[in-house]
C-alpha cells in the first residue's frame, strides 16, 4: 500500500518519524477495512435473508420469474448505500463489489456451517445466488461515469439484467429433466422433494405465479427488465440512505 503526506498533515509532533506515521495510517486502514467489511457482512446478510429469504436459500425456489425479480431488487439496497459511502467519502469504486462479496462470504459460512454442517442439507440444495459480476458492473459504471444518476439508470438496469445470466452457469445443470414415478421433474424440483424440509412445504414455492403472460415462455427477460427498472428506483432511494448514514457529526470538546 502506498501512502503519502501530500495533504500536508502535521507530522513530527505525535510521531517520531514519517515512517511511523505512515505505518500507523496503513495499520488503521486495515483495521477500518476489516471492521467495515464485518459490519457490511452482518447488516447486509440480515437484510438479504429477511427480504430474499427462501428465494436465495433453496434451489427449488430459483424460478424464472419471482427469483430474478425479487433478488436483485433486494440486493440493490446495500449496493447503492455502500457506493454512496465509498464513492463520496473516499472515491473508491468498490462499494457494490465489497457488499456483495461480504454478503456471499456470510452466506457461504451460513450455508456450509448451518445448512450443511448442522442440518445436512446438501450444498446443491442451498447454494446462494451469484452476485459478484453485478457488483463489478455497478462499481465500474459509477467510476467511469462519475455520476450517481447515470449509475442509477444504466447501472440499475444492468444490475437486473445481469442477474439471471450470471447464475445460469450453475443453475442450468439442475434444470435437466427426470421422470420420477411417472411425474416430470427438474433436478431442482427433485432435490427439494428428496431432501425433506419439515417447515418448507411445496406449496409455499412461488414458481412463476402471477397473471396470464403475453410473452410466451420468455419469462426471464420480462422479469429481468422489471427488476432492473425497480432497481433504478431503489438505487436512488438507497444512495441517499447511504449518504445519510455516512454523515459524520462531531461534538464540540466543550460539550463532552
Amino acid at each position: 500500500m502506498s501512502a503519502s503526506t501530500e495533504t500536508g498533515l502535521p507530522v513530527g509532533k505525535t510521531w517520531k518519524s514519517k515512517e511511523e506515521f505512515l505505518g500507523c495510517v496503513i495499520l488503521t486502514d486495515w483495521i477500518l477495512l476489516v471492521i467495515l467489511f464485518a459490519v457490511l457482512l452482518g447488516s447486509f446478510h440480515i437484510h438479504y435473508m429477511l427480504l430474499a429469504g427462501d428465494w436465495d436459500f433453496w434451489i427449488d425456489f430459483k424460478d424464472r420469474r419471482m427469483w430474478p425479480t425479487v433478488t436483485p431488487i433486494v440486493a440493490m439496497c446495500f449496493a447503492a448505500a455502500a457506493q454512496s459511502f465509498f464513492w463520496t467519502r473516499f472515491r473508491l469504486p468498490i462499494g457494490a463489489t465489497t457488499v456483495v462479496l461480504a454478503l456471499l462470504i456470510g452466506e457461504w459460512i451460513n450455508r456450509y456451517d448451518n445448512f450443511w454442517g448442522w442440518t445436512f442439507f446438501p450444498i446443491n440444495l442451498v447454494f446462494p445466488s451469484a452476485l459478484i459480476p453485478m457488483g463489478f458492473w455497478l462499481d465500474i459504471v459509477l467510476m467511469i461515469s462519475g455520476s450517481w444518476l447515470v449509475t442509477a439508470l444504466l447501472g440499475g438496469l444492468g444490475w437486473g439484467l445481469l442477474f439471471y445470466p450470471i447464475n445460469w452457469p450453475v443453475l442450468a445443470q439442475y434444470h435437466q429433466a427426470a421422470e420420477i414415478d411417472g411425474v416430470l421433474l427438474t433436478l431442482a424440483d427433485l432435490i427439494g422433494f428428496n431432501y425433506v424440509r419439515t417447515g418448507t412445504p411445496e406449496y409455499i414455492r412461488m414458481v412463476e405465479r402471477g397473471t396470464l403472460r403475453t410473452f410466451g415462455k420468455d419469462v426471464v427477460p420480462v422479469a429481468a427488465f422489471f427488476s432492473g427498472f425497480i432497481s433504478m428506483l431503489v438505487y436512488f432511494l438507497w444512495w441517499n440512505m447511504g449518504k445519510w448514514f455516512s454523515t459524520t457529526k462531531y461534538l464540540e470538546i466543550e460539550e463532552v
Binding site: I123, F136, A172, A177, D189, I191, P201, Y203
Partner: protein, 429 residues
C-alpha cells in the same frame, strides 16, 4: 481537533490491539462454528392447540416398515388419514396440502410419496370428511436415532404432525448415494451432483471481487483518500488511467459472464423450467359406508383426572354385533383392553392400551341403538397436551371410534363436539 483524532487512532492501532482483535475474531469464529448441535428430538407437535390437532387430521393405521436401517436402506411409512368433517373454522381447509415427513433434517430422504395411487411430489387437494391412504418411501441417509413422523402441511393452516416412531440408522453418511436417472438416460448421484462446479464458480468470482477490492485499497488506502476528498482533490483520485483499468476489468467480467453462459447452454442444451402446480382430483379411499352410526350427545373433560367422557347414541346397522375397541385422536390411540387382548405394534408414547372403557361393555346387537358413555383416560392425554382442550378458544374435541365385530371386521365412526371442562376430580357428567 484533527490532531486529537489522529492521536486517538494511533492509540487504538497498536499491534497489541490488533492481536487482541484477531484473537477475538478467531474465538468468535470457533464458538459459532465448531460445537456440534444436539439433534432435535421432537417437532413441536405438542405445541399446537389441542382442538386443532384433534379436529383436523385423524391419523390411523400408521406403520413404519422398519425401525432399524443401514445407510442406503429404504423403508416405507404408510397409513391412512381421515379429514375431520368438523374441520375448525380457525384453520384453512386442506384444499392445498403437502405430504411431508417430520424429521430432524433430511436424515432420511423421501424417494417417493403417494396418496392413493397418485404420486405426490407436489401439492395436492383433499376434501373434508374423506379418508386418504398414503405411502412415503424413505431412504436412510445419516446415522443416528431419529424421531420420524408423517406430516401433512396445509396451506394457510400449517403443519399437522402425525404419530412419530424412533428410527435407528447405522452406518456412515459418507457412504450414502442418491442415484437418479435423467430423462436423457444417464445416471447421476444427486447427493453430490454439481457441487464441485458450484464451489468453483462461486469462489472464482469471489476471488475476483477480493482482488478488485484489494487493488483499490492497496493503491491509496482509506484514510489518505478521505483526506484528499476532504481537501477537494477527489477528482485526482480517479483519472483516465483508473477509468481505463475499470473499463478493461468490466470488459473482462462481461466476457467471462458470456463465456460461462454459453458454456452452460452448450453443456446442457435441453433444460426445463421448474415444475409446479396443484394436483387435484385425488380419489379418497374407496370403502363401504360404515354400518355404525354415532350421534354425539355431550361430553366433559376432567382436568385433574385427565379424563374425557363422551356420551353418544350408537346404532349398529350391520349384521354382526359390535364392541367399541379404540378411540384415536391427534395421533394417540386409546384402546379398550376388553377388545384388544394383544398390544399392537405402535409407539408407546402414543398408545394407551388400557385407556378406553365404556359404560356398557356388552356387544351392541345388529339393529340396536344404545346410549353409551365412553371414558377416555390416560396420562398421555396430558403429556401430549390434549388437556389444553379445557383452555382452548374452541373447546370442541374430535376423533375416530373403531368398533369391532367377532369376525374381526372394523367399523369406523367419526365423533366430536363441545365438551365442558371440569376442574375438580370426581365431578359427574
Amino acid at each position: 481537533m484533527r490532531s486529537l483524532n489522529l492521536q486517538s487512532m494511533a492509540k487504538c492501532a497498536t499491534a497489541r490491539v490488533v492481536r487482541l482483535w484477531i484473537l477475538g475474531l478467531a474465538v468468535a469464529g470457533a464458538l459459532t462454528t465448531l460445537p456440534a448441535a444436539t439433534p432435535a428430538a421432537a417437532h413441536g407437535e405438542r405445541s399446537q392447540q389441542a382442538f386443532l390437532r384433534m379436529r383436523t387430521l385423524n391419523w390411523y393405521d400408521v406403520k413404519w416398515s422398519k425401525t432399524e436401517l443401514n445407510v442406503n436402506d429404504e423403508m416405507e411409512l404408510t397409513g391412512k388419514v381421515h379429514v375431520f368433517s368438523g374441520w375448525p373454522q380457525a384453520v384453512a381447509r386442506p384444499g392445498e396440502s403437502f405430504l411431508n415427513v417430520g424429521e430432524p433434517g433430511p436424515v432420511l430422504i423421501r424417494k417417493s410419496a403417494f396418496v392413493g395411487e397418485v404420486p405426490v411430489p407436489r401439492t395436492f387437494s383433499m376434501d373434508v370428511g374423506k379418508d386418504y391412504e398414503y405411502k412415503i418411501v424413505l431412504k436412510a441417509r445419516r446415522q443416528g436415532r431419529y424421531h420420524v413422523h408423517v406430516q401433512i402441511n396445509v396451506k394457510d393452516g400449517g403443519p399437522i404432525v402425525g404419530p412419530g416412531q424412533w428410527i435407528t440408522i447405522k452406518g456412515d453418511m459418507k457412504d450414502f448415494t442418491n442415484p437418479v436417472t435423467l430423462l436423457e438416460g444417464s445416471t447421476i448421484d444427486l447427493e453430490t451432483y454439481g457441487i464441485t462446479w458450484t464451489y468453483i464458480y462461486h469462489f472464482f468470482w469471489m476471488a475476483a471481487a477480493a482482488a478488485w477490492i484489494l487493488y483499490w485499497f492497496m493503491t491509496k488506502g482509506i484514510i489518505v483518500r478521505y483526506w484528499q476528498v476532504k481537501a477537494g482533490k477527489g477528482a485526482e483520485l480517479i483519472g483516465q488511467d483508473e477509468k481505463r483499468i475499470g473499463a478493461i476489468t468490466l470488459a473482462v467480467v462481461l466476457l467471462a459472464v458470456l463465456v460461462f453462459y454459453a458454456a452452460a447452454n452448450r453443456e446442457f442444451p435441453r433444460t426445463l423450467p421448474m415444475q409446479a402446480g396443484l394436483l387435484t382430483g385425488i380419489s379418497p379411499i374407496d370403502e363401504p359406508r360404515s354400518t355404525v352410526d354415532v350421534q354425539f350427545k355431550g361430553g366433559s373433560y376432567t382436568v385433574p383426572g385427565r379424563e374425557l367422557r363422551i356420551r353418544a347414541k350408537v346404532t349398529n346397522n350391520g349384521k354382526e354385533p359390535i364392541r367399541l375397541g379404540e378411540f384415536t385422536s391427534a395421533g394417540l390411540r386409546f384402546l379398550n383392553p376388553e377388545v384388544f387382548t394383544m398390544r399392537p405394534d405402535f409407539p408407546d408414547y402414543l398408545l394407551a392400551d388400557r385407556g378406553l372403557s365404556v359404560s356398557d361393555s356388552n356387544p351392541i346387537a345388529p339393529g340396536e341403538t344404545r346410549d353409551l358413555e365412553v371414558i377416555v383416560q390416560d396420562a398421555r392425554f396430558d403429556i401430549e397436551r390434549l388437556s389444553d382442550l379445557a383452555y382452548d378458544t374452541d373447546s370442541q374435541f374430535g376423533g375416530l371410534l373403531f368398533f369391532f365385530s367377532p369376525s374381526g371386521e372394523r367399523q369406523k365412526a367419526e365423533v366430536g363436539g363441545p365438551v365442558i371442562p371440569k376442574f375438580q376430580a370426581g365431578a359427574a357428567l
